[in-house]
Amino acid sequence: MTRYIMRRCLQALILLFFLSIAMFALIHLLPGGADAVFLNPRLSAAGRAAIRARFGLDQPVYIQYLKWLGSALTGNFGFSFATNQPVTDILAQRFPNTMELFIPALLLALILAIGIGVISGVRQGTLTDYTLTTLSYFGISMPIFLFALLSQDIFGVTLHWLPTSGTATYGYTFDFFNTVLDRVLHLILPASVLAITFVAGWSRYMRSSMIDVVKQDYMRTARAKGVSSARLLMRHGLRNAIIPLITIVALDLGQIAGGAAITEGIFAWPGMGSLFIDSLEGRDFPVLLAMLLLAGTFVIAFNLIADILYAVVDPRIRYS
């Protein structure tokens, strides 16, 4: 087991190293280049060289990369071109907001996907199953921005039930209870929109996994021993059916992060996604580079965790 974990960790580290090279190269290949942002066209050649030297841009790319990597490893991702703040500070500022959207959306998606998957898996071929299948097809085929627009229009503009942008109502101070309520109300639309796009795919997966499990001999044995239906489903069925979903969710985390960026953009949610889109428009390369790397690290880390979890649950994996 330890050997397996060591091997997977090493692989993840190597992947992370390649990722950092690829992302650094990508940002440096961008037209305009990292140095063009500061350069005034009326600057003399000597002044230009001085600025390039100050930012280390006169050195070969691999030296620049190693320097950047060295400081990135200590948590220093340089300074934003736009605001001159340390990139780490900017990201730290935005991070809690993104998590406030990301974690509820992920939980909502998981609960819905598992619930829908189990129900249509157990009632395979019934009207309920067909209805849920049709709905999930709709969910898969709907672009996220269309879903966001329609829900904003229906629940925000027409019905006036829910706020459509931001994380809280600004300019008002509430007592503690109302502050929490206000934030939750602001969260409902973006979190649901983000969650729905993944519920469709995951519930299909959960359904077929559940159908496989229900047919297994141990399910019949448990039923024969007199285990109650609810307990049979939760303890014997769900526990086994949920294992393959772990891998799929881990693989999709990158897509959720991308979806979160889009959702934040549409709902004016002041998280890392909006920051990404703003930095892109302002060509703020240090921030972009840090975010691309952070997103990649996040995906690699969760895939590593999923692999290890998988090996813990299913001993056959370790020895292959």
Binding site: G32, L150, G254, G259, A261, F276, A295, G296
Partner: protein, 315 residues
């Protein structure tokens, strides 16, 4: 009656035993070709057929439609107030937009761009994915390791983020550049799929047999192994068209893809969203077209998956 009686009732004489197999019409009928079997199976899948018919209608709508509906999608008409934001009517079945352009004509023009981007980016991604996947799966070892680490790096970064960074910097926002960009980032799944098919197929006897009679590597890979992996690739390709249409629409929606005055369904939605309350057709028409197109590609893809499944054998 008990067992001894039953045994006596029909004495086992040679002549009276019925032939074990009767030649029923089922068996006499000539064997269908494999393509025919798959086609028949697909035809019987009702939802897949509905999806396929809708797709044909959509293609006719976007590519033949403009010959029947001759209004120019780019002609601006701001002569009087009633020519802009006109609600759907006989003259303009889908209304007009903020500068009086006919929405039906614009949706057709945008649909051509969206469909072409979806299809060609799929083709490029699949061809590249087949190339990478078959070399990695066939040769294994170092080649496999290098190619797969390469795909892992692309898969590790959220697709939308890469797409936005690359499109903001490298493309000129023409359909051609958007196609290349989407293809460059979406071949990875096909590559993994082809690789795993090759890993399984290369050990099979027919490959060994072909190698024994002197077939070279290239011939083995593309004449012998690849056709056997066709099923999953076709299914993946169909589903990829739908997801690429969504990618394009998201890019265009955020202003990183096709830019006005050129239109695609994605940027028609983003152009119309400011007027959603007063002129909802400007969002709903292109939006629902994206939705139905992707839905149909998904239905057809899943129908093909069932039809191509080798475990569902029949004569």
């Amino acid at each position: 009656m008990d067992i001894s009686e039953r045994l006596n009732a029909t004495p086992p004489t040679g002549e009276e035993i019925e032939p074990f197999l009767e030649l029923t019409p089922e068996l006499v009928r000539p064997r269908r070709s494999q393509g025919r079997i798959i086609f028949d199976r697909f035809i019987r899948n009702r939802t897949a057929i509905i999806g396929a018919i809708f797709l044909i209608v959509l293609f006719l709508f976007c590519f033949i439609g403009p010959f029947l509906w001759r209004l120019d999608p780019n002609v601006i008409n701001v002569d009087n107030v009633s020519s802009t934001f006109a609600p759907p009517s006989l003259a303009h079945p889908l209304g007009t937009d903020d500068v009086g352009r006919d929405e039906l004509a614009r949706v057709m023009a945008g649909g051509r761009v969206s469909l072409i981007i979806g299809l060609t980016s799929m083709l490029m991604a699949i061809i590249f994915g087949i190339g990478v996947g078959s070399f990695a799966g066939y040769y294994g070892g170092v080649i496999d390791n290098v190619l797969m680490r390469f795909t892992d790096v692309i898969l590790a970064v959220p697709l939308y983020l890469l797409l936005f960074v690359l499109s903001a910097s490298f493309t000129d926002h023409t359909p051609k550049s958007v196609i290349i960009l989407i293809a460059v980032l979406t071949w990875t799944y096909a590559a993994r799929l082809v690789r795993s098919e090759f890993l399984a197929l290369r050990e099979r006897e027919f490959v060994l047999a072909a190698r024994t009679i002197g077939a070279k590597n290239m011939r083995l890979m593309f004449r012998h192994i690849l056709p056997n992996a066709a099923g999953p690739i076709i299914v993946n390709a169909t589903l990829l068209v739908g997801s690429n249409i969504i990618l394009e629409s998201v890019m265009s929606y955020f202003g990183f893809g096709i830019q006005p005055p050129d239109s695609s369904w994605g940027n028609l939605v983003s152009g119309g969203q400011s007027y959603f309350d007063s002129a909802s057709w400007l969002v709903l028409a292109p939006g629902l077209l994206i939705f139905f197109t992707v839905l149909c590609f998904n239905l057809v893809g899943d129908g093909l998956r069932d039809a191509l499944d080798p475990y569902m054998t029949e004569r």
